[in-house]
């Protein structure tokens, strides 16, 4: 039995809707991971111990366990505690927090690498420490860390396939749906791969634009 890609067009709308869900979940999780990453970094570096310690424990938990398990825990596990999240929301939270932890590691390093003259200059103008962090140090740290965060975001896009297992009908799950109907796994997985790649290229283009836009301010 050879390959037959003529079965694909009939399911293209299913696949394309899957692509849209993949983009939606990736964008939402990316935003959460970005701002969550900044927040976690600031807490890890500057918050009092009663905030810092729980956050460190949380980070350790998210870095030390499989993302798949985290998704199961958030989607299926939390129901037992009376928290019944829609699959999409659970997916965004799981992916977003997971990558927020990774982003936070990057941002922490970048914050510490900002020249200490920057903090001094802001303080001599009369800014408080938190004002100096907010207006001077953190924007520079974030700017410096855009390229590696971009890499994390591409990893996030690829890992978004995992949310298919909790029933978000994104690209991977839509492909499986089509396969279930046609028994043509190679064709549909190959098509899915092509779409992932295209979305990936789009994301890289966006990251490059952001990098270019911030290049003047170095």
């Amino acid at each position: 039995m050879g390959l037959d890609f003529t079965v694909v067009p009939a399911y293209l709308d299913t696949i394309l809707i899957g692509v849209l869900w993949t983009i939606a979940i990736t964008v939402c999780a990316a935003i959460l991971s970005f701002f969550g990453g900044i927040l976690l970094a600031v807490i890890a570096l500057y918050a009092p111990w009663f905030l810092r310690l729980p956050v460190r424990f949380f980070a350790w938990l998210f870095m030390g366990t499989p993302l798949l398990l985290q998704l199961f825990l958030i989607y299926f596990g939390l129901v037992q505690l009376g928290i019944d999240l829609p699959a999409f929301v659970a997916g965004v939270i799981g992916l977003g927090l997971h990558f927020a932890v990774y982003n936070s590691e990057l941002i922490q390093t970048a914050i510490l690498a900002v020249d200490k003259g920057q903090m001094e200059a802001a303080r001599t103008l009369g800014c408080s420490r938190s004002q100096a962090l907010r207006k001077v140090v953190i924007p520079q740290a974030v700017r410096d860390v855009i390229p590696p965060i971009g890499n994390n975001m591409i990893a996030l896009l690829k890992d978004s396939a995992l949310v298919s297992v909790i029933g978000v009908s994104e690209l991977t799950l839509s492909s499986q749906l089509a396969i279930g109907r046609t028994y043509r796994p190679f064709e549909f997985y190959a098509v899915a791969a092509v779409f992932y790649y295209i979305v990936n290229l789009g994301m890289e283009a966006v990251m490059r634009r952001i990098e270019r836009k911030t290049s003047l301010s170095r």
């Binding site: 001094e120 200059a121 103008l125 009369g126 207006k135 520079q140 003047l216 301010s217 170095r218």
Partner: protein
């Protein structure tokens, strides 16, 4: 505060890192409108003293007063932060390495603190930025980023940024030491202009010519103490202390050597040019 007070009053300033005493019981005063240069070999404590004035480096003993208010008051942390932030708004500081904010335009470098701390509107802040940048001759570069400026231009913007907070006192920490020789003059001119406007300035510098031409008083520090102070004509031409004489001699020799080396390099370059 009815009793007469000195504008800047440093009383028994001491600073030690463990056993290492950087400042050994320094007392000095500066009048309003006075321009004071602090000179001395590196490691003499002059920068530390300057940075102690706005508590960037905290003293381990002694007091610093500005216009009748103690800067390094002993207060609980939160109260102290509030107090020191208010004090620092009155003290401008210019650093050797400029420390401009690279992620902000020249305009935003100048307006950031006035907007944040004095609640200026965008319009008021823009007007202020234009005034201050015009004052240092950097108005045309208002929408540039620091990375697009030369060192001299950066330092002029840094001065404008400090002045935008309308400080009572300006501190200069080797403001021209990191500049290429040909860029020093433009910064010196700005500082001279400030001097003519009677801004109170304390200037840590290695430039004796500048100190001699601009300052009312020169303070020579060595090993954490003030060795000698007086008008530039006295300290530079007729120093009484042996250490001052030695420092000036060495400095002058170095200066000459440097000039000679530069002249030699120039001649060599010209010869090469001619040979081509």
């Amino acid at each position: 505060m009815t009793e007469a007070h000195k504008f800047v009053d440093i009383r028994h300033a001491q600073k030690a890192y463990g056993d290492l005493e950087v400042l050994k019981d320094i007392s000095l005063t500066v009048d309003r409108g006075e321009i004071v240069a602090i000179i001395g070999p590196s490691g003499s404590g002059k920068s530390t003293l300057l940075r102690a004035i706005n508590d960037l480096d905290s003293l381990t003993g002694g007091e610093v007063w500005l216009d009748g208010v103690q800067i390094n008051k002993n207060l609980p942390y939160r109260q102290y932060e509030k107090h020191i932030n208010a004090m620092r708004q009155q003290v401008g500081m210019v650093f050797q390495h400029f420390n401009l904010f690279p992620h902000l335009s020249v305009r935003d470098n100048v307006t950031m603190a006035p907007k944040l701390l004095k609640g200026l509107s965008d319009k008021e802040a823009d007007k202020l930025a234009e005034e201050q940048l015009n004052h240092v001759g950097m108005l045309e570069r208002i929408d540039y980023y620091p990375s697009q400026l030369s060192g001299g231009q950066k330092q002029r913007v840094a001065i404008a940024r400090a002045l935008a907070m309308q400080p009572k006192l300006m501190l200069f920490d080797e403001a021209t030491s990191a500049l290429d020789p040909e860029l020093v003059e433009e910064v010196n001119l700005v500082m001279k202009r400030l001097a003519e406007e009677h801004m109170t300035m304390i200037i840590v510098t290695h430039e004796m010519d500048f100190a001699a031409s601009v300052c009312d008083r020169v303070i020579f520090m060595d090993k954490g103490v003030v060795v000698e102070q007086g008008p530039p004509s006295v300290v530079f031409q007729n120093p009484t202390e042996e250490r001052t004489k030695e420092f000036l001699r060495k400095h002058l020799a170095q200066h000459h050597a440097q000039n000679a080396a530069e002249a030699a390099a120039l001649t060599a370059a010209q010869t090469n040019e001619g040979a081509k």
